[in-house]
């Protein structure tokens, strides 16, 4: 039997590393920790923890049931702690212009058909297909990241989440 121990983080147990400066400014590294960000976040805030021009990685604390979202391009959710149910729904017609960037939250679900659902646990990467509707549900506080493009729901609070000194 192997005695190897692989360390993953969680909301309950995470340890941050950091930037040890020799001749630099730690802000250049935009260093944060997704569990730390999620621990201080409200449910389903989509907080940017990575950004490269228009592209972002958002950190999400999943807790309870989210609004329905839609997006004109693919997105990918990676669960890093807990369990998240992803409900997928196909509207009768695409709701967003094809060149629209980022996810949009809906106040009500339009007509269409259920596509199915995914029960994703730690380490699972799920496709949020373009033009579908999706909704997250988590019984207990969970953490995920979303690979997407910056949109109206993306929150930037770098000075609060990143190492500055």
């Amino acid at each position: 039997m192997s005695d190897v121990k692989t360390i993953f983080g969680s909301l309950q147990s995470f340890h941050k590393g950091g930037v040890e400066v020799i001749d630099d400014d730690p802000r250049n590294y935009v260093f944060s920790n997704v569990f730390d960000v999620a621990a201080k976040a409200k449910a389903f805030e989509r907080i940017a923890v990575g950004k490269n021009f228009e592209y972002v990685v958002e950190c999400v604390r999943a807790e309870g049931t989210s609004p329905w979202y839609t997006c004109a391009h693919d997105e990918f959710a990676l669960v890093l702690d807990g369990k998240v149910e992803i409900r997928l729904f196909k509207p009768d017609r695409a709701l967003l212009a094809p060149d629209r960037s980022g996810a949009v939250a809906l106040t009500e679900r339009p007509t269409g058909r259920a596509m199915g659902r995914i029960l994703a646990g730690r380490g699972h990467l799920a496709l949020l297909p373009k033009n579908a509707l999706y909704q997250f549900h988590a019984e207990a506080p969970s953490v995920m990241t979303i690979q997407t493009i910056q949109g109206p729901l993306t929150i930037e609070r770098w000075a609060e989440i990143c190492q500055t000194a």
Partner: protein, 327 residues
């Protein structure tokens, strides 16, 4: 650009058994322990292990993004179509002494040349992709070849691993057993409940299980794609074989365990920072640095790249900043 044939090879050395090579103004030879590189203004020696591990990455990544420094002296700079091979170009002392040298080659012939050297100098049983604990040693006189290892294709999903027609997941049956350092990683897959007609679109897979079954180290592979945004996760153990000087910002999210990054100035090689990343940490590598990682235990790292072809010029011309965010 060099109009000369990309490579000329000698007959095998009578004692060591390895061929020597000329590519443009550069000459390469190896003995039992070392690789010797010569250029019109200087000479440089690297261990065969450092050289082969770096050469393997440069080949597998098709010269990658920006600068691939084999060490503090020798490397390549990708211009996507042409490639500079250099010595001392990104080393303050060599530049000040006027000993730096660089030559531009068409990418295709240079790649073919690199593959020829990699093939001749990689012995039976040595896998330059593997962690040192998992492969034979690269040293000694010429002894066979290991084409199965060095000709592995880099995984590049079109949309996401596991989708119909896309890159398959890894399993025992398709030749990817769980790595010894990830023996404790759960292998459960997500529950997928598609409605009829949506079987191909309701899709998810265990990235952690997938990475626990990677047979290579330091080889970022595209697993999910949002336009130019590429998730390139990889499993890491021992030392990143190159000092990577990217021509754009890249991001790291540490998925498991710990990696220590040494960060130096991209042009001069002067030390700038040491970055310790533990599970859940996410940070950017600025576009004006070079980085080399150290992973004591095999770890899972998500490398996140913006593949846009416009970025290198925007950054080189100063139109885009070398950091992704200012706050």
């Amino acid at each position: 650009m060099s109009a000369k044939p990309a490579i000329t090879a000698s007959e095998p050395d009578n004692y060591y058994g390895y061929r020597s090579f000329h590519i443009g103004g550069f000459a390469f030879r190896r003995d039992e322990y070392f690789v010797h590189v010569a250029w019109p203004k200087g000479n440089h020696t690297l261990s065969a292990e450092v050289f082969l591990r770096a050469l393997q990455r440069d080949v597998a990544w098709n010269f990658f993004y920006g600068t691939v420094n084999f060490d503090g002296v020798f490397g390549t700079l990708n211009h996507y179509g042409t490639v500079d091979m250099f010595a001392g170009r990104f080393n303050d002392a060599y530049v000040k002494a006027g000993l730096d040298y660089s030559e531009t080659f068409a990418a295709g012939p240079l790649m073919a040349s690199f593959k020829t050297i990699l093939d001749d100098w990689t012995n039976r049983g040595y896998d330059p992709f593997a962690a040192p604990e998992e492969t034979a040693r690269p040293y000694g006189r010429k002894n066979g070849e290991n084409r199965a290892a060095i000709e592995r294709l880099r995984v590049t999903a079109e949309r996401m691993v596991g989708l119909p027609g896309d890159t398959p997941r890894r399993s025992d049956t398709n030749g990817y057993p769980v790595n010894r350092h990830f023996a404790d990683v759960p292998q459960d897959e997500p529950e997928i409940h598609p409605e009829p007609g949506f079987e191909g679109e309701v899709s998810a897979f265990s990235l952690f299980a997938y990475l626990s079954r990677s047979d290579v180290t330091w080889n970022p592979s595209v697993c999910s794609v949002v336009k130019e945004s590429l998730y390139c996760p990889t499993s890491e153990e021992f030392i990143l074989p190159v000092e990577h000087g990217n021509d754009r910002v890249e991001w790291f999210m540490q998925l498991s365990d710990e990696i220590i990054w040494e960060v130096k100035h991209k042009d001069t090689g002067a030390p700038r920072a040491r970055v310790v990343m533990k599970a859940g940490d996410i940070c950017a590598m600025p576009a004006d640095i070079r980085h080399q990682g150290f992973s004591a235990k095999r770890s899972m790292l998500l490398v996140w790249e913006n593949n846009s072809a416009q970025i290198p010029d925007l950054i080189a011309s100063g139109k885009a900043p070398v950091v992704p965010v200012r706050f």
